[in-house]
């Protein structure tokens, strides 16, 4: 069952094309990796897939099993949140936002879901800690728990291991693999093809040929 089909996609900013001629299909249960050099347009591709920006040309077809708020997103680390006062719990819970509809507050079920995802990522003991005081690996697990609150089906991960030490990197890959085994479709971006080969079911090279 195809979740996302991309046909002859070009992406970029205003008039500058960053990447073009992109074709791929992601099926349910895939572990799909997009690999490319820095600046090859991986983050741009992810934002286009998420509908955060419009493609220059081409098509993105979402399977009807996939509503807009059924995608979980792990953004590339940014410096913006560095001194943000937010507890782990608050951040994970904010992943339930898409489920709220017009309701202003989170329901009991959503709070339970957030607690469950924190447990799944092993960050329950950190629940009331401040996000900005955590290690890189812990921060990524918080954001992963948040993404899991938003979806049961598809995770889009933008360089989830960048900046992590080897041990945390290995742990992160194991977690992602485990999620995939539990039935979550993974679309992951990386610039490190050797480690990705070990886990991914399919790999696409951006700025090169699909493999």
């Amino acid at each position: 069952m195809a979740l996302i089909t991309v046909k002859d996609l070009s992406l970029g900013y205003e008039k500058t094309v960053v990447a073009s001629g992109i074709n791929f299909t992601v099926k349910e249960g895939d572990y799909f990796c997009i690999v490319g050099e820095n600046g090859s347009g991986k983050t741009t591709l992810m934002k286009t897939l998420l509908g955060l920006k419009a493609p220059i040309s081409g098509q993105i077809i979402r399977g009807d099993v996939l509503e807009r708020n059924e995608i979980g997103y792990l953004p590339q680390q940014t410096e913006v949140q560095k001194d943000f006062p937010a507890s782990v719990k608050e951040i994970v819970l904010s992943g339930c936002q898409g489920r709220c509809g017009r309701r202003p507050f989170y329901s009991k079920a959503e709070k339970a879901l957030a607690a469950q995802q924190m447990e799944r990522m092993g960050i329950t003991p950190l629940a009331s800690r401040c996000y900005s005081e955590l290690s890189g690996g812990q921060q990524q697990r918080v954001l992963l728990a948040r993404a899991l609150c938003a979806t049961r089906k598809v995770l889009l991960l933008d360089e989830p291991v960048s900046g992590l030490d080897p041990e945390a990197t290995e742990h992160m890959y194991e977690l992602i693999k485990q999620l995939n085994d539990e039935g979550v479709t993974i679309i992951m971006i990386s610039h490190d093809i050797t480690s990705v080969k070990k886990y991914a079911s399919r790999i696409m090279i951006l700025g090169g040929d699909a493999a």
Binding site: K47, L50, G51, L52, R68, N69, I71, Y73, P75, Q81, D83, F84, P85, A86, S87, K89, E90, I91, S94, G95, Q97, G98, C100, P104, F105, Y106, S128, R129, C130, S132, E133, R146, A147, A150
Partner: protein, 281 residues
């Protein structure tokens, strides 16, 4: 001193001033965290100057209720600043500097050319640094202020979770289907309303202080969004009350006294944060 205070507190105008002061302090602190973290604080600054410009137009037109012109103009500018801040050829901050300094210059020019008042410098000074007008509020003005404050607080509480999501991670919120642009707009409009309200209390030059200091103080000590929000609201109200009482008793200017209280409080929080941080690490 206590006698003097209890005597003063029996006057309706003092009671009005305290009510309005507390409400304005409460409202202005609520969005402070968002403003600081979204790097929107300069928008607040720009808007206050626009409000000054609008105020002088209202003064020149001799409108009885200057809210009628100041509120719409400021809200409109907030919307414009937010729009242009994102995708204009002129960079956002330069744009804001242009608008705010321009509004300031035009405002003063207008007042200078058209004003019929004999005490022009006094008028300008009180619009910039807050006037004693907080002590001459009519009952109707107090009600308008209460209504607007209640609206601000209700909106903030209802949209608290969304404001958090949009402030923490715009892209994620958008991907999850939150209407980010709508909430950014909401934030800008609420800021505009707060600024217009706060002009009465501290004057247009000192508004940013009222919005930003409580948030910065709270961020020294607290580490979750909720505790920072609650603490900055309490701190802001406390400082406003202190400032008001001191200025009533000692006859100092209301606006600057309140802001001075905020600055002192920030210093305290900064030190507590240092000590706490030093112990913990």
């Amino acid at each position: 001193m206590i006698d003097k205070l209890t005597l003063y507190l029996q006057f309706p105008f003092v009671q009005y001033a305290l009510i309005v002061g507390v409400l304005i302090a409460l409202c202005s602190s609520l969005l402070g965290v968002t403003l600081v973290l979204k790097r929107f604080s300069f928008i607040g600054d720009g808007l206050s100057h626009v409000a000054f410009g609008a105020m002088s137009i209202a003064a020149v037109l001799e409108l009885s209720n200057n809210m009628l012109i100041v509120l719409p103009v400021t809200v409109l500018s907030a919307v414009l600043l937010l729009r242009t801040g994102k995708n204009a050829k002129i960079k956002g901050d330069a744009m804001i500097a242009m608008i705010s300094v321009g509004a300031l210059a035009f405002g003063y020019l207008l007042m200078n050319i058209f004003s019929t008042s004999s005490n022009l410098t006094g008028d300008v000074c009180s619009t910039l640094f807050g006037s004693t007008s907080i002590l001459t509020l009519t009952q109707a003005e107090v009600w308008v202020c209460i209504a607007l404050s209640v609206a601000v607080v209700v909106i903030f509480v209802l949209f608290y979770n969304r404001i958090f999501a949009v402030t923490f991670d715009e892209d994620f919120a958008r991907a999850a289907g939150t209407r980010v642009d709508l909430y950014n707009l909401l934030i800008a409009v609420v800021i505009a309303v707060i600024i217009v309200l706060a002009m009465n209390l501290v004057g247009s030059l000192l508004i940013s202080a009222l919005v930003i200091f409580p948030a910065l103080s709270a961020m020294r000590i607290f580490k979750s969004f909720r505790s920072v929000t609650v603490f900055s609201a309490c701190a802001s109200v406390l400082c406003a009350l202190t400032g008001l009482l001191v200025s009533i008793l000692a006859g100092t200017p209301v606006g600057s006294t309140i802001v001075a209280a905020d600055v002192v409080f920030f210093g305290l929080c900064w030190m507590i944060g240092k000590v706490k941080g030093g112990v913990r690490v």
